[in-house]
């Protein structure tokens, strides 16, 4: 079954909730956060116009989890199938990035994989990208093209539901009675909405035109003073990395329970001063500027070299979460301008 039409979201979400737990965006203050869906609830599910505040990684790589029990290993709890509704194109890309790390051949993380295999991804178009969104700079779009099981697009008087995987297709097939035919006019409407969102994004990022690929800008700015300058206001809150949907540093620690020992795995941040420190006290990234450089190099150069994809999706969460006013777009822009100035100088010298 190809794209289908449904006039209300509730029957769709209820149908998904028949066979699995569903997490759906709900407005919390000015942001959206995912909450467990209650099919018996009276409220109509709401579609988020912009990505949720918290990153999709929390469904696959939770803040804290049990990594091992010993001396007697126990089999981990079976993960039940679950659905996440309202994922955006940037979220789907972030999952693709995490897959590279946690599903890497010979080094598969069993906990990630168990969740990944059971996640039913229901994405949706961005109807109102935020001021901090900059996915378009990194070749992203405000609507998903792949990586989802179902994608939902808001159109006049209803929603278009597009399957993106065999799982999504069989869902639509099994619930065919819920859906109607899709008039061509609605497909055209969807395209129009998508274009409007794209225009809005371009408008929001007009102050950040880059003259070279971001990876090149960062790599060639490796020795730039921009990192130290921009890190000057950083208060090391680490919110940028924790809320980042692609940052995946973690910390392993051991605990003692009554009759067993456990190894725990918890999110960590490369912006933390002790992150790279060794027991003898040596620390290759003592200064905040060094850590900011490492964070950007990892995102745009090192990760790309290893996995062929940037480790940033331009969701702008780090910008919203920052306490210390460090804006990744500004850092990139300043590096870009330095590079441009260097280039112009070189041209001048040559002529």
């Amino acid at each position: 079954m190809e794209t289908a039409f449904i006039s209300k979201l509730k029957p769709l979400v209820n149908a998904i909730a028949e066979s699995m737990d569903v997490y759906i965006p709900a407005k919390v203050g000015e942001h959206y956060a995912c909450r467990k869906y209650d099919a018996k609830g009276a409220t109509e599910p709401e579609l988020n116009g912009i990505r949720t505040c918290t990153p999709a990684k929390e469904f696959l790589f939770p803040l804290r989890e049990l990594a091992a029990v010993f001396p007697e290993p126990v089999s981990p709890k079976q993960v039940k199938p679950f659905a996440v509704v309202g994922l955006k194109a940037c979220d789907l890309r972030s999952v693709e990035i995490l897959d590279k790390v946690f599903m890497e051949k010979d080094f598969e993380d069993p906990f990630y994989i168990a969740r990944r295999e059971r996640m039913f991804a229901v994405s949706s178009d961005c109807s109102s990208p935020g001021e901090s969104c900059f996915c378009n700079i990194l070749a992203g779009k405000p609507y998903p093209e792949n990586g989802f099981d179902l994608n939902v697009s808001h159109v006049p008087d209803g929603f278009l539901i597009q399957p993106g995987s065999p799982k999504g297709k069989s869902f639509l097939f099994a619930h065919a009675a819920l859906f109607g035919e899709v008039p061509d006019a609605l497909v055209a409407e969807r395209a129009r909405f998508r274009e409007a969102a794209q225009t809005q994004l371009v408008q929001a990022t007009r102050d950040f035109p880059f003259d070279a690929p971001v990876g090149e800008i960062v790599e060639r700015g490796y020795t730039s003073a921009v990192f130290d300058e921009q890190a000057r206001t950083c208060v090391e809150c680490q919110a940028c990395t924790r809320i980042c949907p692609t940052c995946h540093c973690f910390y392993l620690y051991d605990t003692k329970q009554q009759d067993y020992f456990a190894k725990m795995k918890m999110w960590d941040s490369c912006m933390r001063i002790g992150h790279a420190q060794v027991a003898g006290g040596a620390n290759p990234r003592k200064m905040l500027g060094d850590r900011l450089r490492h964070r950007l190099m990892h995102k745009f150069a090192y990760f790309f070299e290893r996995y062929g994809i940037d480790m940033c999706v331009g969701c702008g969460r780090c910008i919203d979460a920052e306490t210390g006013d460090v804006d990744i777009r500004t850092v990139l822009k300043k590096l870009n301008d330095e590079l441009l100035a260097k280039g112009q100088k070189a041209v001048k010298a040559a002529t």
Binding site: P71, P73, P76, P110, H248, D254, D268, D290, R306
Partner: protein, 273 residues
Amino acid sequence: MTRNLYQPMNAEIAETIEESPTIKSFVIVPDTQFKFGTGQFVELTLPGEGEAPFTPSSSPAMAEKMEITIMKAGRITGLLHECGKGRRVGLRGPYGNGYPVDEFAGKHVYIVGGGVGLAPIRSLFLTLVDRIGDFKSVVCRFGAKTPDDFIYKKTLFGDWQRLKGVEMKLTVDKANGNWDGHVGVVTTILDRKDVDIASAVAVVCGPPVMMKFVTVSLLNFGFDPKRIYLSMEKNMSCGFGKCGHCMLGKYYVCKDGPVFTYEQICKYPNIWE
């Protein structure tokens, strides 16, 4: 379910050996056989307390047990030093690349070590000695702060000095007792004539400041940066290139290292910190 990367294998401390005032060796017997390559490292868990990375100091040819030499440097190593025979521990690994011993074949192997850096070097040394005919020579230059600070004293001052195909010189920063050997930091016993540099590889392991100055000396002697092998000490935590703590530029020291050529890492700042 896929094999759990985080699950330690159970093991037991079979013996502890005092090496120096701050360094102890632990003979560890894993419950099931555990194979490693020389220069690879393991994560040793002290149950309920934490884990830390160590490169075994024994020969990989010894399958039923391994030795790990540990300097008291932080919380976990401090607690490990209090552990005695019979203490149950956990082991994960082996991780990393280890020394490319086969690439050393047909060459002089120039080994420079200092302090507890002799631990990984001992494993390499024993591996080389097992097939000594494969190498032009094995030339060792080892240093310690004082004679008491040398580890593996019995073999270092004894058998190892008399092995065929091996040439060894020792030095201390500060002499005491009956020491009648050389006094001075390890770079003072390095000489460009020690080996034929054109057909040699160098292996360096020790405290970061020592590695830095030894590398400078080796480069001055004319060593190719591609042939200087450095064992890097970083904060290796997961062991398989995910947790991010040990990143050195683009490399995960735990997965791409811990042995790097100087050429691989020289462009990054603060490699010795």
